[in-house]
Amino acid sequence: MDKKQYTNFGIWGIFILLMGFVVPVFFPAYRVILVTEAIIFSLFAISYNLLLGYAGLLSFGHAMFFGTGAYVTAIALGHIEGLPILGAVFIAILATTATGFIIGSLLLRHKGSYFALLTLAFNALFYVIATKWHSITGGDDGLSVTRPDLSLGFTTLNMSDITTFYYFTLIIVGLAILFCWYFTKTAMGRTVLLIRENEERMKFLGYNTNISRLYLFTFTGALAGFAGSFYALFFQFTSITAISIDMGTAALLMAFIGGTGTFIGPILGAFVYIFLQDFLSDFTDRWPLIMGLIFILMVLYIPGGLSGLFLSIKERLSGRRAATGQTETEGQNR
């Protein structure tokens, strides 16, 4: 059972990776930029879904980590002479890990609506700090970022080149996504699912469920910071948008559109979101209205998201009952 699942994922993984590598060959620069953005948001949406889909924790504050990652990257590159590009990413991850741990330890006793409201409140606090602390964050003006070139010893990669930055993102962010997938198979990944299923029983099996939530919250915060760091490098700019509640809602939308019940869902959601947004904004400035309508329709009629829809079509085609697809439905909310 497990082996087959790994093989399946392996085939899909290789397929997606190959597709990723040939994107710049077949598509114009403009599309390559969009795919780069979608990859970055995939990581953000996955980190969000580890909270929502896997742990059942609804957060409205995920942008505080995304934004902190973006700001720390911009500030580090602006203040540290000769800081390598991966050094900046690393500092952003360290900073958001610490942030996640501190905020998480204040939240860890809360679940459900209290948790959701507290994350919202903390995000508002972070937003205010980013707006008001002008000397550090640039306030409403934001901060510009210069992407340093990547020195590999034998050669130096020019990061201002669209294709080079695309491959850099594909590999580094791709590795992070791969680790997230691996995480869902680890002891901690299983623990998160089991606690969502039955927290009381887990306590009686020797698990400290508050500590578990804290670890997960810190981990997803660090991942969001990772994505935020790449967001700053991608736009070569960080503004208060990165740390606004809207940014957290974007992650929620992506996870939901793609489906919170599968690992691949948020990736799908991120791509649909980014491309749809690009497509719609060609026609109208009112594109968030249409996105909102799509979201409402998805919640009402396709609560499993696109990946859930595909799974149920696949199951119907192969004539299997949903109940037997245990390994595929593990990540589901219900």
Binding site: M1, K203, F219
Partner: protein, 250 residues
């Protein structure tokens, strides 16, 4: 006669829920390897007592001594790590997970593999084997890949015991393990409980007197929040107070 060491001492436990007195001074001791039954009418406070012993509730007053350590008010996960384990009256499992994963959760917890971000449980030596052993003991080997929700009630009850065993406890507390079972299922459950609790201490809450008298070597009668008597089965059977209060109905 040699006196076995006490594994558990319940000392003068009181519990009230916002004014409602549920336990009014419960005292009893359980010796190592004893099979101890707690009986009493509905509402006597048996499950409340279990919840206090296992750390789910804090007592209003009194002490719980487990393995000569005062564990009053300690949370369940700490008591579990000290080798205490319990089952639930209402099946309390992980319904969407496979039977195997249900039991493995406890097995890996015992081995300290709880929050590891790098190790996969199936790759750690002994965990799968230990899980399979427990599934074999409770007779669920044939359904180990099935999701729990697909199991019959009787088999979910067996899993309930399997999960309880998964943390390798020294002290096992079973809360009405045969509740809702058919006569055949009950007989099978007694045989299984007898087998898996060999060499361990058992405290069992039961309504079925056949189960109680076939399993227990000591019986405590809980009546309106206090222990009426705590003695060997034959003594309990002939105890006038117990007859009047409880057994007399038979």
């Amino acid at each position: 006669m040699k006196q076995a060491k006490n594994i558990l001492e319940v000392r003068n436990i009181h519990k009230d829920f916002s004014g409602l007195q549920v336990l009014t001074g419960v005292d009893f001791t359980v010796a190592e390897n004893e099979k101890h039954a707690v009986i009493g009418p509905n509402g006597a406070g048996k499950t409340t007592l279990f919840n206090i012993i296992t750390g789910n509730y804090k007592p209003s007053s009194g002490k719980i001594i487990f393995k000569e350590t005062d564990v009053t008010g300690k949370p369940p996960h700490i008591l579990t790590r000290m080798n205490m384990s319990r089952s639930f009256q209402i099946t309390n499992v992980f319904p969407e997970m496979s039977v195997f994963e249900n039991v493995r959760a406890g097995v890996r917890s015992r081995q300290g593999l709880r929050y590891n971000f790098l190790k996969r449980p199936e790759r750690v030596a002994g965990i799968n084997q230990k899980t399979e052993d427990i599934l074999e003991q409770v007779g669920l080997t044939d359904v180990m890949s099935e999701p729990v929700s697909a199991l019959s009630y009787g088999r979910q009850r067996a899993l309930e015991i399997g999960i309880t065993l998964s943390t390798e406890p020294e002290l096992i507390l079973l809360d009405e393990p045969t509740a809702g079972m058919t006569r055949e299922e009950t007989a099978e459950a007694i045989r299984m409980i007898n087998e898996v609790t060999t060499g361990r201490t058992l405290i069992i809450i039961e309504h079925d007197m056949d189960v109680v008298f076939s399993l227990a070597d000591t019986i405590s009668v809980l009546h309106y929040g206090t222990i009426l008597a705590s003695d060997k089965p034959d003594e309990i059977r002939n105890d006038q107070k117990v007859k009047d209060a409880y057994l007399g109905e038979e």
